[in-house]
């Protein structure tokens, strides 16, 4: 069990890491543009949560490449989207912050902080009303918890008793502003604890995140009620490619880099004998190939046609159920 998990985690986290390192290169080459938010350093949260949650709807912020990969969306289609190609997961109209794949219950990135929280609550309400079991996973940052929409969503989820797992990835910063200068409460789970069970987890330990999310998933599905998890993590890069992140001291960055979630996973997996050096090498090779293939696919994909500017705005049809 731990063995297969470790393998899965390593593959997805490594894929996320390499995919985003490549995104950086492609951005500097000019193949990717706009806002590019990297989750490098936060892979344990994204992979542990998505794998642990399993079946169910995902609502994510703009930093969602690794979440999309962990959900199983084809890396080719994601990279093509970042390249703005017609083959992209959003036809090249969305870009990095707007990956969507409802077929895989992935309701994508949102570029407005906290705006997707009520979407998750409404989705969970609908699932419950329609008698479906799987709940909804909603991911957001520490900065989002200072926005009124966060509280409205927390209150409604608790009041309406809907199965949402609120996962706050606390990386201590909202762009250049440290949590201590934006939130009166430094322990963010306090903001939810009166409304729903709320706990804290080490976001650099993928197993810890995974186990917490599995427990939370069981709770929300069994009781049909919301749950809150605060995961402590850190982004090793700037907020986006537009930000150097130099408002953080080298010492601080170093301290967190020491706990690189991928290294932690590798060390533990080797220690526990869940993975061998050989397996890791093979996975690395696979990852390299997958990323390379994604980039080639993106490069060789066509631009959207000009007509695409006007399509997909309205579907223009009516449901015929009402006479």
């Amino acid at each position: 069990m731990s063995q297969t998990l470790a393998e899965k985690f390593y593959y997805l986290m490594k894929l996320g890491r390499e995919f985003e390192i490549r995104c950086k290169e492609e951005y500097l080459k000019g193949n990717i543009s706009g806002f590019l938010h990297l989750a490098i350093g936060e892979e344990a949260v994204h992979v542990g949560a998505v794998v642990g949650f399993g079946k169910g709807d995902l609502f994510c912020p703009y930093r969602e490449h690794v979440l999309a990969l962990a959900r199983g969306i084809d890396p080719k289609l994601i990279m093509a989207e970042l390249f703005g190609k017609a083959t992209g997961v959003s036809k090249g109209k969305g870009g990095s912050m707007h990956l969507y794949e409802p077929k895989m219950d992935f309701y994508g990135g949102n570029a407005i902080v906290a705006a997707h929280l009520p979407h998750a609550v409404g989705a969970a309400y609908a699932r419950k009303l329609m008698g479906e079991k799987a709940g909804v996973l909603c991911i957001f940052g520490d900065g989002a918890t200072n926005n009124g929409t966060f509280f409205e969503a927390i209150n409604m989820a608790s009041l309406w008793e809907v199965p949402v797992l609120f996962l706050c990835e606390n990386n201590y910063y909202a762009i250049g502003t440290h949590i201590s200068r934006s939130s009166a409460l430094k322990e963010l789970y306090l903001k939810a604890r009166d409304y729903m069970p709320a706990e804290v987890v080490d976001g650099m330990d993928v197993f810890a995140v995974y186990e917490a999310v599995v427990r939370a998933k069981q709770y929300i599905e069994e009781y049909g009620k919301p749950y809150f998890i605060e995961a402590y993590t850190y982004r090793f890069e700037g907020h986006s490619m537009a930000d150097k992140g130099d408002y953080r001291s080298p010492r601080e960055i170093e301290m967190f880099r020491k706990r690189d979630p991928i290294n932690l996973l590798v060390e533990r997996s080797l220690r526990e004998g869940w993975l061998t050096e050989e397996q890791i090498r093979l996975i690395d090779q696979k990852v390299e190939a997958v990323v390379e293939e994604a980039v080639e696919f993106a490069l060789s994909s066509p631009e959207p046609s000009e007509e695409e500017l006007y399509t997909d705005l309205y579907c223009g049809v009516c449901s015929d159920v009402i006479p």
Binding site: A115, P118, G122, A126, A153, S319, D320, V321, I322
Partner: protein, 325 residues
Amino acid sequence: MLYRDALNLALDHAMEHDSRVVVLGEDVGFYGGNYKVTDGLYVKYGPKRVIDTPIAENSIVGTAIGMALMGLRPVAEIMTVNFAMLVMDQFVNQMAKLRYMSGGKLMLPLVVRMPQGVAKQLASQHSQSLEHFFASVPGLYVFSASDSISAYHGLLHAIRMDDPVVFLEHTLLYSMDFPFEYVRDFDPFRARLLREGQHITVVSYLKMVHDVLKACEWLEERDGISCEVIDLVSLRPIDFETIYQSVKKTHRLVVVYEAPKTLGLGAEVSARVCEELFYFLDAPPLRIAGEEVPIPYNRKLELMAIPTPEKIYSQILSWSKSHGL
């Protein structure tokens, strides 16, 4: 049938025939709605489908979006359009864009109902007409209802559509009684010709339609000026074809709306007609609209701030005179 009851009937029919239709908003359930539009639905369909919400407008529409994404067909009520100012993010950045940003993968069968306009001395934070805020946003449809027929059929059509619709009502119309009948294939995208005329095309919508009709009767009786009156119904998109046809006949355009004149919906109608029918016009278009002020509490000042049948009559009359009619 009361305008309010026509809306209620549309909701009732929709909920009866389609279990995916849910209603949510402040006081819409147990209380029956601040303007009693949802009266009786709570008892008939229960609290799971007629959902009382906290006072959290942005999240009322936000949760409705989430419900729509999952295949429900929510009809959200924002108590008045004034509070929709708290919802603009969900309207402009979410509702209007999710489908487009997703390359057509997301579908939002969602309706948001709200009343607007001046009622009686509700003061400036409760008296606004803000249709242009919604009608300027690509990705939204915006319907308006001026009577019980357009209320019932327009709302029902909006609910049936798989795209997001902002449905505008007028506070003063709720308790007005209008003739009602079931209309075969009512098309909310087609403007309605409410009165035929030869000399002037008068475009309006919502409550102003009735003030315009009154003024046009006076113009006919007292001054022999015959006006053609158009009720836009759909405010996005605007049915310019119907307007053009009429103006090609009358060669004169008047637009009447309650919001302040500057950048109100009538600005687009006036500009578009000038741009498209420049050589057809015998006179510059006339806009009769609200003054450039918030709505004051005092009744005399309040009535000065918006068009009335008397003002519409006299302004059209003097404008006609000064342009050779």
